[in-house]
Amino acid sequence: MAIATEPLETTTGRDQYRALALRRIVLICAMLVALCFSISIDMALGPANYTLREVLTSLFYAESVGDQLRVVIWDIRMPIALMAVTVGASLSLAGAQMQTILANPLASPFTLGISAAAGFGAALGLIGGVAIFPAAVQYMIPINAFLMAMAAALFIHFASTMRGVTVETIVLLGIALVFTFNALLSLLEYLASEQALAAVVFWTMGSLTKATWPKVWITGAVLLFAIPLFARHAWALTALRLGEDKAASLGINVRRLRLHTMMTVSLLAAIPVSFVGTIGFVGLVGPHIARMLVGEDQRFFLPASVLCGALLLSATSVVSKTLIPGAILPIGVITALVGVPFFFVLIFTNRRRAW
């Protein structure tokens, strides 16, 4: 069945599209290179002032170097450097898909109350010594945070499946959750001892110094589990951006796609937050930067969001330890300071509408 009646004049559309796709692939590769560079810097810099040669030797011939060098590279620098990557990537990806399925540019783990819920869960442990899941008290803080975050995410999801609830009301619900959990957190803080209070304040600030190898593996595994799931639905997720009716008309089961995506997103958002605390900015801005760079075709948007978030947090990790040598500044603060200028530049130089 041939549809066109007019003869073909040129093939410019096709060529232009191929060029556009190539440009995006190049951009994504550039981000990947930048990420590798940032990880390398993160690995190479530190108050112990090892030479590049020592760092490399320790990386490739770990047995041949002294205990201290090996511990610094393998147990201190590397978990932090890799945790920055997995956490940044997870939060950014979670934000990207939340924005996609809720059709709202303000959606992110932070703005929908998932981070706030995690913070409250952690505070329950830090202040009240309450273990929601009493079997594993030594992991009480991350487990509490995770369970509360999942509860919030599922609440958001099931609310979104109720009749008469639109994507706009979902964001309002999320904001209501943020306020609720923040109020509960403040109440707990009001009842807290100074020591617990300091721990809660520090926890809610978010910090990569909590990184350990098991945490790196878990966040990495969740990320590796989520990416193919989203990749398989890349075309469908992109189509969601054309509106619910349009997506349905293209044969997509919108409700089911939203459910599956939201479940995965909950996991992606809750796990990093339960390990490293609240890092608000990446999940909101990472996807926006990616969108401005490569658009919303998920085949490009998905890897770009992952890389943007990873790069943003990795660069933050470098800055947070180099700004005052020897100290580690709270990462949530630095993320915003690193990301905002870049974000502004993109907003003001981007002529095309981005959302």
Binding site: I3, A4, A103, R241, G243, K246, D297
Partner: protein
């Protein structure tokens, strides 16, 4: 050639019946069928029901189809103005649903053809957000056509177009239907468009079918009085074509 017939088709939202008792003869491919009726009569609901996007009683009978029920394509009124996608990408993604990441040259050639046929190839690399409502309607048509449906349900595809574009799009769709054997159902407000381009007409009012048949038989002064509450005549113009002339509304 594909055929579509509706047997006692209705639609429900929850327990609420919003449409009932739509019956038609076999609507053959190759021609267009107008679906007319006042605002909120249930035209969009009928389309969604036919496309399987809404549930309800009755059966939608497809005959002589090559692809089965999936061949029915519903085209909503608009396509996402917020998406950060170019026109070209938005058409590509409509054609790629359910298939692999890899984009073949043949698929791109097809998109080029459709964009040129709709004369929107100069918009191909503009963002959807930069387009006017009318331009987006044309993109929406392209998104539907690229899926090569045998039954196409177009929900007011010309509502935001200027007169030239309306005539152009409707003429194009009629020629396309004739050439490809596609059955096109098209929701319209302009009854003169229905008279000029559509072989059959279905009239929907207050959630029920009022009439169905050849356009010339269905669009009459009596129907206009009953359904649209206007005093009107259907007369032959100087070219010998029927036109609707509206005198005044009935208060």
């Amino acid at each position: 050639m594909v055929g579509l017939a509706l047997k006692g088709v209705g639609a429900k939202y929850g327990k609420h019946t919003v449409l009932s008792d739509v019956d038609t003869d076999i609507l053959r491919g190759g021609v267009m069928t107008a679906v007319i009726g006042p605002n909120a009569a249930g035209k969009s609901t009928l389309f969604k029901r036919i496309a399987g996007l809404a549930s309800g009683p009755g059966t939608v009978v497809l005959s002589d189809t090559l692809k089965g029920p999936e061949t029915i394509c519903y085209m909503p009124q608009d396509t996402g103005a917020n998406a950060v996608l170019t026109v070209y990408e938005s058409v590509l993604l409509a054609s790629k649903q359910g298939s692999s990441w890899k984009v073949r040259d043949s698929e791109l050639v097809e998109i080029d053809r459709i964009l040129q046929a709709l004369r929107i190839n100069d918009l191909a690399f503009r963002g959807l957000g930069e387009l006017s409502g009318g331009q987006r309607q044309l993109v929406s048509i392209a998104q539907a056509l690229v899926r090569k449906p045998e039954v196409l349900l177009m929900d007011e595809p010309t509502s935001a177009l200027d007169l030239f574009r309306q005539i152009e799009v409707l003429g194009f769709m009629r020629r396309l239907a004739a050439k490809s054997g596609m059955s096109v159902l098209i929701a319209l407000h302009d009854l003169n468009h229905a008279l000029r381009y559509c072989e059959n007409t279905i009239v929907i009012a207050k959630g029920a079918m009022v009439a169905s048949g050849l356009t010339g038989d269905v669009i009459t002064g009596g129907m206009l009085r009953d359904i649209y509450r206007v005093e009107a005549r259907v007369e032959m113009c100087s070219h010998g074509k029927p036109v609707v002339i509206v005198d005044h509304s009935i208060v």
